[in-house]
Symmetry: C2
Subunit: 508 residues, 2 copies
């Protein structure tokens, strides 16, 4: 058989990415408590005082009607809403402690709450970059390639939003193409944006087609989630609120995430930023529970700080890590699932990108986040989705989920007989105990290069970013779309075509 | 005043490294427990069984005499020593729970034990590298430059050994020049090697001169420490044991660190490697306490794993992190101070170097290590001391010690008035609450670049390694040796000259 005749399958096996299999993960460790119980209560009380005394702006008229009906004190000729503390706590308590998101492929279902932990892709970057083509504005081709990587890498368990904005598509119908790609290029959980009611309604129709279910079943089996950022400080805008209400009415979870950048959109103290985060998150979640009591929702924490000299946002700072841990303490106080992120401010896929991401990830993991957004590919404080950073992050996450595996300690693993066999001064390479474990003893990395310097140099002296570049190219070359029932495929195309013919969403 | 006339002081202020001030640190968090209490007991019991049934080789004759005198079962015509579990625990219990190491500059004294945490430099690398000159064998000029960086950076709190081997100096007198440089280029705690008795005796003489004290005071005020690695599996060699005995007799602490590389010098399971680590550490520490009951010593953990395909050692792996955490649990079980490391296997100062180091550091910090060796500059599994990696690690450590600062939560920091002042939709840049905190609100990084992409690009698009290169050069250009009493200076030079004239240490 000539080289050219070699069947495609064999070629793919040769290329294959050596990664961890798909799994659902749990966090076996006790969370790190970054504040005392008294301090936690002080933050809690400060946030309730904010909602009672200062209030929060709900810019949408319908939202304010609902809030008033449920007992909130709504400003007569304005948008400010004051929420008595009992009202907030009464409604927040209605949220589910744990829920499952249903993927098109049931093997990719995810559970949020308790000690479940799930990692998602980068989301919402306006730009995209890689080592070959540099930095460029977001576009649909890169959007699709990033989705293919989401599907390829098992530890990227969901699409956290558009990995990059497909800005070359018209805004009125962009979501239709974006959702269609998310459904067909992946079979994992995906995320529509809460930008008005219509986009959510379209997403609901499409997930129902994709899963072959009706809306009643969708309400019983949530399959979409959407991040809603409050417009910190203390404001929720109309498109966000309308999308949020649509999600809630369909029984789909919203992740209410204030973006409380300390020193810019929040006080220049972490305690103050956390109090504000908590106020905004609780107000949003209480409102969601007024719209549809019992609908699942997630407490989002995204408190970081700015560089006080320049106003530049920073991520993966020591302040960020502590805030991520306290965010977890707050979410647990209310029995809510918790969302955190893998964030960094670096401009290159270098040591800074890695250490800032690690500081974020450790905050998320040891804060017991259930949903880790921007898990893979986030750079420049969210301004870029990087192909190489995505691969670096897959290695970070793989390493982290292996760290989450409980250590096995039993007669066999304690290895007394192996030590007896080898004896003082010997080595374990050839011991029976070692040979029995040869294949699976330890985590095998995706990206790390453990060769000695000379072999590494002879192999081209590629740094981690350059090796990541090779890996994502291999992954794209090997990509095969997940199977999709032809009838569903056709129905989805029909839906997109019909909605496009009708003009999509009117200008916001 | 012309530019040339500008006084040196002013020039140095311009260059000045923007770093955290010197401090002693404590770890406010509860350690992460990576094994249950039952699992910990299983490891404990397995290690005592190893010492009872398999025993451990003490290659030094005098050491075996001491062991026999104290009740160990010494092989009649061999070097194997079996230690009854009660004997081990009885002597381990004599070690101090906490002790202080005295630096030449008392402001740089360090306390080990409880929740004290101290970070040291890279140690014992045979090679050295930087971006300008590449990778080269260790030499005295680089050794001195690395010491200058140790002195410069406040979060590098001690010299963990020779940062790089000054291999161009003759072995018989190398330690004299190396110690002299450690004393004069830094005023921080330093480390002589336990390579035979004579080198330790020379170090003791030199620290007594440097501190202006006698040996009795030195015994009351420990000022040196030495790492002793067992020759895993289950062996302690002659030079190590003779150095160890000399240290113990002078009341100076030894850090007993088995290098239990799972799959090579220890079983291919983390539980087995930890059982072996514990056996070797306890045997060494029990022996130290037989030599001089009550002398401080430290439980060292350095369990990692090899790549099973190639035998290459790996560091900062998920297995490494869990082993570092369990090492802390073991040390605390015996009331011993704990040593861990900042290790990585990377060949370049890239994302891999940073994420492996972070995985190591988090294991060390959340394992409540009191002494973190190789804190700054360690690369390639210890084969290289890197100037750029040292700067990257200073940023990692600075970020970590800021993370260890307890969060302030009080009326003022909760910022209610600031939120009232700013109101919904505003920003906090100009708020009184912000302006009052402008200077010191947040951690200001040494290395991280938080500029936006365009400014970073216009600034030369330097990655973290390239920026680190600039920082260590600035630090060396600005270096001023710490003050030293001229009498002490002369006495030290005299001592070195006399010992050199006498030929130094005979060949080992």
């Amino acid at each position: 058989m000539s080289r050219e005749q070699r069947p495609r399958r064999e070629r793919r096996v040769q290329h294959a990415i050596n990664q961890l299999p798909w799994r659902n993960y749990r966090n076996p460790y006790s969370p790190i408590q970054a504040v005392t119980a008294d301090q936690l209560e002080a933050i809690h009380n400060a946030s309730l005082r904010i909602l009672e005394e200062l209030g929060i702006e709900f810019l949408d008229d319908e939202a304010r009607v609902i809030l008033k009906q449920h007992g909130a004190e709504v400003q007569a000729d304005g948008t400010r809403v004051r929420l008595p503390r009992e009202l907030v706590l009464q409604y927040v308590a209605k949220a589910q402690r744990e829920f499952t998101l249903h993927a098109r492929n049931p093997e990719h279902n995810l559970t949020f709450g308790a000690n479940h932990i799930n990692f998602g892709s980068v989301a919402s970057a306006p730009n995209v970059s890689d080592l070959d083509r540099g930095r460029r504005p977001g576009n649909f081709a890169d959007y699709c390639d990033l989705l293919k990587l989401v599907q390829t890498f098992n530890v990227i368990q969901f699409t956290g939003g558009y990995p990059v904005e497909p800005a070359d598509l018209p805004p009125s119908t962009r979501h239709l193409d974006a959702h269609h790609a998310a459904i067909t290029l992946t079979d994992k959980v995906w995320h529509p944006y809460s930008l008005g009611r219509e986009r959510i309604e379209d997403a609901v129709e499409m997930i129902c087609i994709a899963r072959g279910i009706d809306k009643a079943q969708l309400a019983r089996e949530p399959s979409l989630f959407s991040i809603v950022n409050s417009n910190s400080p203390l404001r929720l805008d109309i498109p966000m609120l309308q999308g949020l209400m649509a999600m809630a009415r369909h029984g789909q979870p919203v992740v209410l995430t204030p973006f409380t950048l300390s020193g810019a959109m929040a006080p220049a103290t972490i305690a103050g930023a956390l109090a504000q985060q908590n106020a905004e998150a609780l107000a949003g979640i209480a409102f969601i529970q007024m719209v549809n009591p019992g609908v699942p929702c997630v407490y989002g924490g995204f408190t970081s700080n700015v560089d006080m000299k320049t106003g530049a946002p920073a991520f993966g700072t020591p302040e960020y890590t502590r805030a991520a841990l306290v965010g977890g303490q707050l979410a647990r106080r209310y029995g809510l699932p918790y969302r955190s992120s893998n964030a960094c401010a670096a401009n290159a896929v270098d040591a800074q990108a890695a250490y800032e991401s690690e500081m974020s990830l450790w905050g998320a993991v040891m804060g017991h986040a259930n949903l880790i957004l921007h898990g893979a590919g986030w750079m420049e404080g969210g301004l870029v989705a990087s192909f190489e950073k995505l691969v670096v992050d897959v290695e970070l996450i793989q390493s982290m989920v292996e760290f989450l595996q409980p250590l096995i300690v039993d007669e066999d693993s304690l290895g007394f007989e192996a030590m007896k066999e080898v004896g003082p001064g010997g080595h374990f390479f050839g011991a029976a105990h070692t040979l029995a474990r040869y294949e699976k003893a330890f985590y095998a990395p995706l990206l790390s290069d453990w060769r000695n310097f000379e072999n590494w140099r002879l192999g081209g002296a590629l740094d981690a970013a350059q090796r990541a570049n090779q890996i994502w190219k291999t992954a794209l070359a090997d990509f095969a779309a997940p199977t999709l029932d032809p009838g569903i495929d056709e129905a989805l195309r029909d839906f997109v075509a019909r909605r496009k013919a009708a003009g999509g969403v009117k200008a916001a």
